[in-house]
Amino acid sequence: MKEPIEAIQTEALAQISAAADERSLDDARVAVLGKKGTLTLVAAGIKDVPKEDKAAVGQLLNAARTAISTALEEKQIALREIADRAALAGIDVTLPARFQHVGSLHPLTLIRDEAIRILRRMGFALADGPEIEDEFHCFDALNTPADHPARNEKDTFYFDSGKLLRTHTSSVQVRTMEIQTPPIRIIAPGSAYRRDEIDATHLSVFNQLEGLYVGTEVSLPDLKGTLEYFLRELFGTQTEVRFRPHFFPFTEPSFEIDVKLTVKGQAPRWIEVAGCGMVDPAVFEAINTSRKDNAFDPEKVTGFAFGMGLDRLAMIRWGIKDIRLLIENDARFLKQFA
């Protein structure tokens, strides 16, 4: 039986070697090692081999099977390597991506969130109030006389009901003090409205951030420290901050705050970013009248308030030259904030 076994092995090895793919390799395996494979059939004939030859024939068979199996394995590895190489060869890593939609948050959201995160670290909680306000909360309680220029129909949107669109978020100060008692430490982002024609620097609906801290012994050093810290967190720790005396009906003393900023290609200059001041005792008196108690006794309670235009902060932060870009929602603009 020696010759047939050797012949089978030789032929099988030749077939394996010639296999061009895994399928023909499998055909070769089946042809020799399958149920009806040539070697399987020969092996089945071992029972007819004389007893004294069985060991030798068995050895021959095992050797042939081992040689063939090894060849099959090696050939399979080789074929797979070739196939893998071929598969990878077709991949052009330099083709562009299968793009996903990329969304974005509005710049106003980004700047507002940045401001809120800073102020929350400093222990301010959020508050809000209605945008359709009454004259008491928007003006009277804020020590703004009835004939104040802001209170006419040319500058403020009124409704037939006598209500109005709040001209500042300062009305939230009043709303909050009516329902809370000192200490109060709040911030209130929100929309405000003025009867301004829309142009490159004005919107009739704009966004503000209001802040209020009321307690006992709240002082000018608190106002100064709080706002310096806030603005340096927002604009950079080295930012110069200055307080210019100003006038607001509901704070006294009042200040406007400038930060010194460098616009690319220009000399550094002072840019107005916020207004602030110590809450005028007349505001506390109006709150007490409204509350019908003396929770905000001007003899005992002091506080400071501040407000800033968020649209303006966004314009400063990103060098936005026309405020209308903030309400036009041109995707080419919005995408830049992705």
Partner: protein
């Protein structure tokens, strides 16, 4: 307010002060400097030069090389491009080091290989009004080497914004007084004689509340003519147009002292002056030619004829003013109450330098002083003879009272940054005087100082916040419900951005036309819409009841810019009237989404698909953590495919597609899907899980079923039957295929094949095949019974 620096310098010594220092002084006094305009030549290094020689530049056709005499002993070589001069002319020469307007400094240069040591200047180049082209030719008698600035007037115009609490600053004298206080320098004396006064029987004040004090003096035999140069120059320096000497003097005194005056032509007065309220609907012809119908609230200067001579404190009448033929005048100086002037000025839309000051409050003690000062000037410049006494009716109102400074509160507020002596010194400098009882007497021009805090403001202002320490501390505060809402909104915003949507901000005032695009959570009637009374324009007349119209407008804008894919969202307030007949405005917050155009970015891989409503459903599902969103059809006016959006049987919003007609009208080329969601409800849905669910311990098994049913059967019916059956082993089911064939070849055209996969599992053990088969059979039977489906 416009202030001339030269004018200001007549009241205090400003020598050695740079514009920058003066700018800072005003700024830290609380007066905003809005503009600084220099007129004339600033630099000393621009001098008179005589052109001695001019030859052609060897290397440039258009240039000449000149030799000029600037009085230095040697000639200076300067390359020049101008053509309008001749040798011998005198022109301005900017010497090296001269700074020109615009901030650049002249140096020595080489121009095309020829040295040039300075620059010969045109008028515009040295800050003078633009004259003829070319060099400014100076008079032949100009002295060589003399700074050119000495040949022209130099002044700086400051545009200042005075806050409404400081009317005392609305004059050059007032500004100078403030600067003198801050600089601790004396105010130069202004000698004005106190006039003789006479309680007048010739003036009648019928409205003493609106006009507590009225004075008048007659001057006879004046010559109305052009003002002298100095006076015209003063007025022109602050942008006023000279008219005639009498009018110019009243304007000059107003800007000098802050007290408005008015001169009447005495010939046009009949009898005594009467200060009275206007009659209802009385007509008034103002000197600017405008006519006004007055109300009982307006104050008039009248006479015994009843004529309306002037709208008190606001504007003179067209008939009673001084003209070239006037010889006798009556000069008015009065105190009108601010509130009345403000109302009249606003109602008539008439404003003047006079009303501007009266409505903020003039110094009652300045009324007679100003009159006296004006009379002196009139006699000097227009001649004539004044009455020896000024007629006075009423009395100066007392607007100030002694104020207490609470030292303890001052110290607390200032953070102990200023001691009492220094604080008191500031008050003294500001003109206040400490009385024997310790209170502070306030000068008549500072009626804004009424309370302790007003004095603190002055001290803080002059002391400067620079000198106050900064304190970095605060109190602990609990988070508010608004904080929780804000945090939820930011989560939603970030999720939507991550899903590829752009956040928008649209204006909350929309047009009436846009109201047809609203998709409010609850349908609205027209009476629910809130309109502002006096909109700026039709485009911004309505408080938005829904964010959808704003997003549609933004989408239209982007389509015009060839945007292929529109994925927009906005969050914010919407407004409606919830009171039926009564006005009861309601503000709530919504999230609005708009999708249209390509569903996927396109590229070489060529996968493209138009966005459909299932994309929007998918976004909503992803926004809420993969929870199942259901759309329940509910018609919406103005839209198609209207649906309520539901999650767990709760209505959370509204969905719809624009009508195809509206889409075409707005130039959309693919369907536009919009949704408006109740933000209050969405926030609650973000409250994560309270405990985790154990992972399944035993394997489950699935069975697929394809069912044939009428084309128009909604998928929701299948879901309802499955849900109703509540088969305990069925843990989930999903629709994985919908097949239709309009040609009717593979399946009848009026039918569809819907394939579902059903997942079965029992949490405590592995299910036997027979148990699964039985359960599955039950599901199929329920579907057969409920919908009459055929299984394929």
């Amino acid at each position: 307010m416009n202030v001339s620096l030269n004018w200001l310098a007549t009241h205090l010594d400003l020598s050695g002060k740079s514009i920058k220092e003066i700018d800072d002084l005003f700024t830290f006094a609380g007066v905003e400097v809005e503009g600084i305009v220099s007129k004339g030549i600033a630099s000393d290094r621009i001098v008179v030069a005589q052109i001695m020689e001019a030859v052609q530049h060897p290397n440039a056709d258009r240039l000449k090389v000149t030799q000029v005499d600037t009085g230095e002993g040697t000639l200076r070589q300067i390359v020049c491009g101008a053509q309008n001069y001749k040798v011998g002319d005198k022109v301005p020469c900017a010497l090296p080091g001269a700074e020109l307007p615009g901030g650049f400094t002249i140096g020595e240069t080489v121009m095309r290989k020829v040295e040039s040591k300075g620059m010969l200047c045109a008028a515009s180049e040295i800050g003078l009004p633009v004259g003829e082209d070319g060099l400014l030719i100076l008079p032949p008698d100009s002295k060589i080497g003399k700074p050119v600035k000495q040949l022209f007037d130099y002044d700086t115009l400051l545009e200042l914004e005075v806050t409404p609490n400081r009317p005392d600053l609305l004059s050059h004298r007032g500004m100078a007084r403030e600067l003198a206080t801050l600089l601790k320098t004396p105010l130069l004396p202004l000698e004005i004689a106190r006039p003789n006064t006479n309680v007048s029987v010739n003036i009648r004040i019928d409205a003493p509340a609106a006009c507590p004090l009225y004075t008048a003096i007659a001057i006879k035999g004046v010559t109305v003519k052009e003002s002298p140069a100095w006076l015209k120059q003063r007025l022109e320096s602050i942008g006023l147009r000279p008219i005639n000497n009498i009018v110019d003097i009243t304007n000059y005194v107003l800007h000098e002292l802050g007290q408005p005056l008015h001169a009447f032509d005495a010939a046009k007065l009949t009898g005594n002056i009467i200060v009275r309220n206007a009659a209802d609907s009385e007509n008034f012809l103002a000197l600017d030619g405008s006519t006004h119908v007055l109300t009982l609230d307006d104050l008039l200067i009248s006479d015994e004829s009843g004529a309306a001579l002037a709208l008190a404190g606001v504007m003179g009448g067209a008939e009673s003013g001084v003209t070239e033929i006037t010889t006798d005048i009556v000069l008015e100086s009065a105190y009108f109450t601010p509130q009345g002037i403000r109302r009249t000025s606003r109602r008539t839309a008439l404003g003047s330098d006079s009303s501007y000051r009266f409505e903020r409050g003039v110094d009652p003690q300045g009324v007679l002083t100003a009159s006296s000062f004006a009379v002196k000037l009139i006699l000097e410049l227009a001649g004539g003879a004044a009455e020896t006494t000024t007629q006075v009716a009423g009395a100066s109102p007392v607007l100030t009272k002694p104020v207490t400074l609470d030292a303890k509160k001052l110290d607390q507020l200032m953070g102990s940054s200023i001691d009492l002596t220094a604080a008191e010194e500031i008050l003294t400098r500001l003109g206040l005087a400490k009385l024997t009882d310790g209170t502070w007497d306030v000068p008549s021009f500072r009626a804004d100082l009424q309370r302790h805090i007003d004095l603190v403001e002055e001290i803080a202002r002059v002391h400067g916040l620079d000198n106050v320490p900064s304190r970095f501390q605060g109190t602990f505060v609990p988070a508010s419900p608004i904080d929780a809402a804000y945090d939820a909104d930011m989560v939603l915003r970030r999720r939507l951005a991550a899903l590829g949507l752009h956040e928008c901000q649209t204006i909350k005032l929309i047009s009436d036309a846009q109201v047809s695009d609203i998709l409010p959570l609850r349908p609205m009637q027209d009476s629910d819409v809130i309109r502002v009374k006096l909109p700026l324009s039709e485009d911004h007349a309505v408080m938005r009841p829904s964010i959808v119209p704003g997003l549609i407008a933004s989408a239209v804008r982007n389509v015009r810019q060839q945007a292929k894919s529109l994925r927009l969202f906005e969050m914010g307030r919407v407004f409606r009237n919830a009171g039926g007949g009564k006005a009861k405005d309601q503000e709530s917050e919504t999230l609005s989404i708009l999708l249209s155009g390509s569903a996927l970015p396109t590229g070489w891989f060529k996968v493209d698909r138009t966005t459909d409503l299932y994309d929007l459903k998918g976004i909503l599902s992803a926004l809420l953590g993969g929870r199942e969103i259901k759309f329940t059809p509910k018609e919406r006016a103005g839209f198609v495919l209207g649906c309520d959006i539901k999650l767990d049987e709760q209505n959370i919003g509204v969905f719809a597609r624009l009508t195809p007609a509206r889409e075409r009208e707005l130039d959309f080329t693919s369907p536009v899907y919009v949704a408006e969601l109740d933000l209050g409800k969405l926030r609650k849905l973000l409250n994560g899980i309270s405990h985790v669910e154990d992972l399944p311990q035993f394997p489950g098994s699935s069975r697929d079923a394809a069912m044939e049913l009428p084309l128009n059967t909604p998928n929701a019916q299948i879901e309802t039957i499955i849900a109703k059956l509540a088969q305990p082993l069925l843990v989930s089911s999903e629709c994985f295929d919908v097949f239709t064939d309009p040609t009717g070849q593979k399946i009848a055209a009026d039918s569809k094949s819907v394939a579902y996969r059903f997942h079965y599992r029992e949490p405590t053990r592995t299910l036997k095949t027979e148990e699964i088969d039985t359960a599955h059979q039950g599901v199929l039977e329920a579907l057969t019974k409920g919908l009459g489906v055929k299984f394929r």
